[in-house]
């Protein structure tokens, strides 16, 4: 998102550049004059307001399976352990089905949590199959199988599926991730067989498949590189043969023969080897070594995926005492008051409790950040809800458990109007987009994902826009900590 802002944020680019050099340090150092200070602070404040106000919102989705099944064949919940060999077997089975003319996409739903904001469809696999199938219908029209602990759901672009559905009635679903995966495998095979596409159960090779692919890619790369090296060697061999590197000083064939002979003698080379061949061999070896290194580097970077390099610096920083954090008091998940500022260092973030994609990732990053710090100096995390409709105690407790949130994590919930005022104050855009599918309404929340660092004196010190890294926030916190101890 930061890259996007830099690329897209017009007014943001220049002010942001101006804002970055402002370090996390106390006011008055470096001999700033008051005028410069006031102008600088105004610029920084304007930059932050512009960035936060114009930050493109992150999407918090109500139905996690639809996100994955848009492009993949299998949705497995992230938080339920599935035996790797069964996962691999199921993936291979689906791939084999697609190859043999029986494409099918499968969503395994282990708990109500996996349904995001449509928890009311928990335990209703057939209804959820219709719902998800409708959601995917602009991208995918084929068969869709839902596996829930209490049964299967099937959808095929609105076509009748009762017959296929009945064939699954006898498939037993054992509890746990393994049971669900096994049931999915049996169901897919039964459905495929009934449609005239019997699928053999693939041998579980959970780890070997990617290794083989990577090895074959490396082999291919090496072959291409070797072909290039051979071509270069061939051309240079011909070239050196036709015109050796050093011409004999005495000119003529006789002189050259004499020189070659004396070189051979001096270097104690066997009679048939000419001095140019060691040079060619050396060149070839060097090129080969360079290219093996290249191929290995290629392999390594291909495994690195799209982990783009995010800068570790915050998007905006403020000097101490420059920008007071807007004060508010809400209640936390235990119905206790939670206030900002609170007299201690605070990480203030904005989260949708029903989000199942970016919010949990951001929460984990923040949690990991404070877990890196000594127990005594960990700041509190205040997560202001951006989805008042989801602020039930059950949802918050579920998130606390599923996201493995630390005790320092405090939700901040309250009346929608109070929340809206806080969002506005901190430049957080929240859009509620209702979506109606099969008579079910999902409130899709679109919101800016931003995190502020607030020091113990109640001043905003840094703003991080998602995605940010643990190291970035930790560096900001350490800086604040150092200031505290340094007086």
């Amino acid at each position: 998102m930061r890259r996007h802002l830099l690329a897209a944020g017009a007014g943001t680019r220049a002010p942001l550049a101006a804002a970055r050099p402002v370090p996390l340090r106390t006011t008055g150092r470096n001999g700033w004059t008051w005028n410069a200070l006031v102008v600088g602070l105004a610029a920084v404040t304007l930059a932050a307001a512009t960035i936060a106000a114009c930050a493109p919102p992150a999407r918090a989705d109500g139905d996690p399976a639809s996100d994955v099944l848009y492009s993949e064949q299998l949705f497995l919940p992230y938080d339920v352990p599935f035996p790797p060999r069964l996962q691999a077997q199921l993936r291979q089975l689906l791939a084999a089905g697609a190859r043999s003319g029986y494409p099918i996409r499968v969503a395994v739903i282990a708990t109500a949590y996996d349904l995001g904001s449509i928890g009311e469809l928990w335990g209703k696999p057939q209804l959820y199959a219709r719902f998800l199938g409708t959601e995917l219908s602009l991208v995918y029209h084929g068969r869709l199988l839902i596996v829930m602990p209490n049964g299967f759901g099937l959808y095929r672009g609105g076509n009748p599926v009762a017959l296929e559905q009945r064939s699954l009635d006898k498939v037993k679903i054992a509890p746990g991730g393994g049971g669900l995966a096994r049931a999915a495998i049996i169901a897919v095979r039964q459905l495929a067989a009934a449609a005239g596409h019997p699928l053999t159960l693939p041998q579980p090779q959970p780890t070997k498949v990617p290794a083989v692919t990577a090895a074959s890619h490396t082999l291919r790369n090496l072959l291409v590189i070797a072909a290039g090296v051979m071509l270069m060697l061939l051309v240079w061999a011909i070239s050196l043969r036709l015109r050796p590197l050093r011409r004999p000083s005495t000119g003529g064939r006789e002189g050259r023969r004499h020189r070659t002979r004396s070189t051979r003698r001096a270097l104690r080379l066997p009679g048939r080897i000419r001095p140019v061949w060691p040079l060619i061999a050396l060149l070839g070896t060097l090129v080969l070594i360079a290219n093996v290194a290249f191929a290995l580097a290629e392999r390594k970077t291909s495994h690195a995926g799209a982990a783009s390099a995010h800068a570790l610096a915050p998007d905006v920083t403020w000097s101490a005492g420059a920008r007071p954090a807007a004060a508010f008091t809400l209640i936390d998940q235990h119905a206790r008051p939670v206030s900002v500022p609170s007299g201690r260092t605070t990480i203030l973030t904005f989260i949708d409790p029903l989000c199942r994609n970016y919010c949990p990732l951001e929460a984990r990053v923040l949690d990991r950040t404070i877990n890196q710090l000594p127990a005594g100096s960990r700041p509190q995390i205040v997560a202001v809800s951006v989805n008042p409709a989801a602020d039930t105690r059950a949802n918050l407790a579920l998130d606390q458990r599923k996201w493995r949130l630390s005790p320092q994590w405090r939700w901040a919930i309250g009346e929608p109007t109070a929340l809206a005022r806080i969002w506005h104050t901190y430049g957080i855009t929240v859009q509620v987009v209702p979506q109606h599918t099969l008579g079910i309404t999902i409130q899709k929340i679109v919101h800016t994902e931003a995190t502020y660092l607030i020091d113990r004196h109640g001043f905003q010190r840094a703003l991080y826009l998602w995605p940010f890294k643990t190291a970035a926030v930790a560096a900001g916190l350490r800086q604040l900590e150092a200031e505290t101890h340094g007086g």
């Binding site: 114009c54 492009s71 790369n221 051309v235 240079w236 070239s239």
Partner: protein, 333 residues
Amino acid sequence: MRQRAICLALALTAACLTPGAAFAHAGPTPPVATSFIARIASTPLGVQARIVDADQQLWLHVPPTTTLVVLGLAGEPYLRFSARGVEINKHSPATYLNRAQPATVPTTANPREPPLWQRIQTGRSYRWHEDRLHALAFTARRPTSRYLGRWLIPLRINGRPARIAGGLWYTPPPTRLWFWPIPVALVCLVGLLRLRRPRLDAIMIAILTLTELAAIIATHALRDLHGRPTVPASQLAWLAASSAVALVLVLLILRPRWRAVAILAIAGYALAEGLTLLPTLYKGHTIGALPPPLERLTALTALTASAGALLVLFAGTSFDPKGRPTRRSLNSP
């Protein structure tokens, strides 16, 4: 030497006259490759929407009876399609931010102000750079997944809320082996050049020049025949003009006096075209009329042949008054 400098200047001037500069209204230059693809999942009834340039621009066509307002980043009116044509709200910050090269937001641009509409098009279709399509491009992505997330463009159609929704996908980069033929070819050329055989040099120059011409025509075809979202007559005209330039260069090669000029001009032109297409060699999704492997091959050919031709021309070959390549020593001072 003076002649060569003139030739190089001519070549670079010719290379600058590419569609990239011609279609600058959508951004500095239309991209030739990207790592991200946006796809539309749902569109309101009657409205036609297309993604242009993978994840960069959105094109809308609205029926005459419909008034459609595209909402900006803060939910304010941003673009309006109506009977008057297409208008843009000068009070919307998105007018200044939602661009390939964003502008500074003026103080008068306040999303809470009533819209100040300015007509930008008389028709019912319009395409614009839309940041929301690729807003998720740099967010975290699960290693096994290529799906990044959804995007949403809020609308109001005849006053009613609506939206265009879709998803954003990541395309991994191609293998870096695509760059490997360039050093191989250059090393081989140096090996052949040091032989100082005018006839061999002439053959090399001929092969490289023909390859360059093929690459130039292919690069123009893949860019000019690519629709954004359709292929307008101007693009076809540009393709015709480029082909005419290539033909003139071929004719110049046949005239001994102009042979060196033409060869150098073609090399410079092909090099510029190759550099323009360079992103196709390291980004996953190519944007053009040809399939990705062909586009990469075109870029590779243009780069390799032009670099090789320039190497041959500047490292060793010169032309006699009859346009035949003569040799100078590689080792001569």
